[in-house]
């Protein structure tokens, strides 16, 4: 059936197959590149729109936050604006949950209120910790319009103000920690000057520009 092998036809066939295949794949890559990027952008926009009030455009940025122990953690955030006016930040926050990484998007409006939160990725136990991904549950609605300056962002059983998911303390604790971290990032981005009364977005924006140019 098949051709008898010799060095020439073996190397020829292998080279030819690899060349043709990589050629086709390269072409397909170029063709599908645009729809893939579009799908990615659509996903990010959808996620951001879910945790922030209506905005026109958003811009991706990265920052690094240092904790008390001096460990540096990178954060990705999206700055949402209406023309010149700052709407808020959507901040991606990664923590370690019960079953692995728990990735949460926290939307914080310019006046420093948490607008809403959403789960981007979770490996929690179905039926228990994974309930944190169900929007509309009591655990999730308590975050909407929550003022992080007036509430203590720890679970009630740890002396804070946050209700836990039944039988899922570790997940709830991780989720709360993720939101707390995001608030820290927000404070660092706005220089901690965001004020509920005035919604002081202008100095906040200036600060942010200086900071992000330092970081990148």
């Amino acid at each position: 059936m098949a051709v008898k092998s010799n060095l020439l036809n073996m190397s020829l066939m292998l080279t030819l197959t690899c060349l043709v295949c990589s050629g086709i794949l390269g072409g397909a890559y170029v063709i599908t590149k645009e729809p893939i990027e579009a799908a990615k952008a659509a996903k990010i926009n959808k996620a951001n729109a879910a945790v922030l009030p209506a905005f026109e455009t958003s811009e991706r940025g990265e920052t690094v936050l240092k904790d008390e122990a001096g460990v540096e953690t990178p954060y990705v955030y999206y700055k949402a604006v209406n023309g010149e006016e700052l709407v808020g930040y959507a901040i991606e926050s990664n923590v370690s949950g019960f079953g692995g990484n728990l990735k949460i998007l926290v939307g914080i409006t310019a006046d420093g209120l948490i607008y809403d939160t959403d789960v981007l990725d979770n490996n929690e136990t179905p039926g228990l910790g994974a309930k944190c991904a169900e929007s509309g549950s009591l655990f999730r609605t308590q975050w909407q319009k929550l003022d992080p300056r007036e509430r203590i962002l720890t679970l009630k059983k740890d002396g804070g103000d946050i209700d836990a998911i039944t039988a899922s303390t570790i997940t709830s604790r991780a989720y709360t920690q993720a939101v707390y971290n995001a608030v820290q990032v927000f404070d660092a981005l706005t220089g901690g000057e965001a004020d509920a009364a005035t919604g002081a977005s202008v100095p906040a924006e200036n600060n942010n520009k200086e900071e992000s140019s330092d970081e990148q």
Partner: protein, 200 residues
């Protein structure tokens, strides 16, 4: 501390067979005897660690600089196939006794999805061990790959032990062979679920 967490997590919590469903075919295929199971685990351990080392470097120093990440799948499988061939040739020359022990399992490993799975996992996924999610560096990848393959060996050896006993028992005809084996693995997986949440 971090390395310790990686090891515990890879062996018990996210066991490659019982929680991630990788490498099931050889797991069911060669686990009927304890001795072959041990041999296969040894060969897999060797190849996974070596393959992860090579593919990690290939990805970092060749694919990423040239923006060819989309060729990961095709490049990795070729590397693994070539590597397995090479290991086979080298082992034959250097250590005939080890070759005799692992030899027959080596060709099977190319199509063991555990190898490609671990190699792809390391370069495409961020991991959380204790602290925030991050990409693994070379040292962590190696430890992760090695510990994962140890987990493979552990599951394999436990299962082979169970199957040796199972063979002596009288099971209903329709259950004979693979079905009862799968049900046994199911119960084993349930036991391993007890480890979840151990590494935070």
């Amino acid at each position: 501390m971090e390395y310790f967490l990686i090891i515990i997590s890879a062996i018990f919590v996210n066991n490659i067979v019982l929680a991630q469903f990788l490498g099931i075919c050889p797991f069911l295929g060669v686990s009927s005897k304890l001795s072959t199971a041990t041999g296969m685990s040894g060969a897999v351990c060797f190849v996974i660690t070596l393959a992860t080392l090579v593919t990690y470097l290939l990805n970092k120093y060749l694919l990423i600089p040239f923006e060819l990440e989309f060729l990961q799948t095709i490049a990795f499988i070729l590397v693994i196939a070539a590597l397995v061939q090479m290991v086979e040739i080298v082992l034959k020359k250097i250590s005939p006794s080890l070759y005799a022990a692992l030899g027959i399992f080596l060709p099977l490993i190319t199509t063991n999805c555990a190898v490609l799975g671990v190699a792809l996992n390391v370069v495409t996924k961020q991991f959380t061990f204790g602290e925030a999610a991050h990409w693994l560096n070379l040292g962590e990848s190696m430890v992760y790959a090695f510990a994962t393959s140890l987990g493979y060996g552990l599951a394999m050896v436990i299962f082979a032990g169970l199957r040796e006993h199972l063979a002596l028992n009288d099971v209903p005809k329709a259950f004979k062979g693979v079905p009862i084996a799968l049900i046994t693995v199911g119960i084993l997986a349930m036991a391993f679920m007890g480890f979840s949440g151990m590494v935070k």
